[in-house]
Symmetry: C2
Subunit: 213 residues, 2 copies
DNA sequence: GAGATATTAGCACGACCGTTCGTGCAGTTT
DNA sequence: AAACTGCACGAACGGTCGTGCTAATATCTC
């Protein structure tokens, strides 16, 4: 039978798989997915090279699994915490500030994982780029949906171009991450905080909305 | 004497150095500076590995030379063309649109060279990151200076925060490049064009300024 | 218990890496 | 013509890469 019987072997296997991926996302956020090497991961974790290799089957599969793992971490760190904020302008703002907090806290040691690896793979066709493009769309859609809810609930003017606004917000966030990491400064985050408030106010029905205080 | 006598040998040497760097910036804009391999450059150009190596002395020196070469190309492609636009709001706008044209035209095959390699090295201390941080500051300063001239000439309101505005403009440009390359679309450039006009208008003394038509 | 199964280790492979060395050759200087 | 300079060459170094094998070990089924 193929029921979900608890199998200690596969459990142990998944455990080491997770350990490998935990290490992999950290490395990749600093040095990129190409810098992931099976031998290095094995050495770092006290495993054998072939043991690590067996868990993924190929380097590209390891890279894809690393992207999926990072996607989960991102969702938990950025999107999940704002789930309890009621939909509307306040949640849209909270989402952006959650992203800034995620970058600032170095959930990934190299800053935003996706900024790093997207720049690495955006011009290289293949499954990895496709996966990253999917993540980017997903995040963009999340922001647009939050803005849409804000418009529906009357926080944003009906003629607001949600795509443009989401683009501008994401641009500010990513650039804050980039400059903060590159120059090892906090100032870009403060600048981004000011700017995203101004962007939201510019589209708000009531610029004095308490959600933008 | 150490006069500038024409030496055919060193001339030939510089020529191959330039050929190597021309190839190197192209590769690095797509795959990153780490993907530069001396052996691959040699094969591609029909040279010997040791010949290429001798021209730079180390891989890191090759990477630094590649960054310097890209900096020159960037300056020629983006900054130089707007030199004949009179300082002011029009030039600030021209500078941004020159950047968009540079990304759109794939002056570097992977899109903006600096977006790619800055993401690669921003979390890795060392001479390469320092060089890239310098380039980033230089470009940021160029934008700020253009905005400052626009403010001085009355195009922008006196209370405009130039740092914030430059940050927002650069954010829009870089994100347009990133999304256009990642999804292989033109739409991000159009969005960016609209957004940067709106950003400049928001700081303009006269939102109907013909420079923003 | 026995036997099936899946994770991990050990080892070897071919390829490529950056780097060093000694040599040849073209151009410059004397 | 001889001495010197500097680019480029080919070969080789020690390492690391991803990827296959085989063997050992631990767990589950019966």
């Amino acid at each position: 039978m193929a029921g979900p019987t608890t199998d200690g072997r596969v459990l142990r296997g998944e455990e080491t798989r997770r350990a490998v991926l935990r290490r992999a996302v950290s490395i990749a956020s600093v040095e990129g997915l190409d810098a992931l090497s099976i031998g290095r991961l094995a050495t770092d974790l006290g495993l054998s090279k072939s043991g690590v290799f067996a868990g993924f089957g190929s380097k590209e599969e390891l890279q894809l699994a690393t992207v999926r793992a990072a996607r989960r971490i991102f969702a938990d760190a950025v999107v999940a915490p704002v789930a309890d904020v009621p939909p509307g302008l306040a949640r849209a703002r909270a989402l952006c500030e959650s992203w800034l907090a995620y970058s600032r806290a170095r959930v990934f040691p190299g800053g935003c994982f996706f900024y790093e690896v997207t720049a690495e793979f955006d011009a290289r066709p293949g499954p990895v780029r496709d996966a990253l493009a999917g993540c980017a769309r997903e995040w963009s859609d999340t922001v647009v949906e939050a803005l849409d809810a804000a418009r529906t609930t009357g926080g944003l003017r009906p003629d607001t171009d949600l795509g443009d606004l989401a683009f501008a917000l994401i641009a500010v966030l990513e650039t804050a991450n980039s400059q903060a990491v590159l120059h090892d400064e906090d100032a870009p985050y403060e600048r981004a905080g000011r700017l995203l408030l101004r962007l939201l106010r510019a589209g708000a029905t009531d610029p004095a909305d308490p959600a933008l205080a």
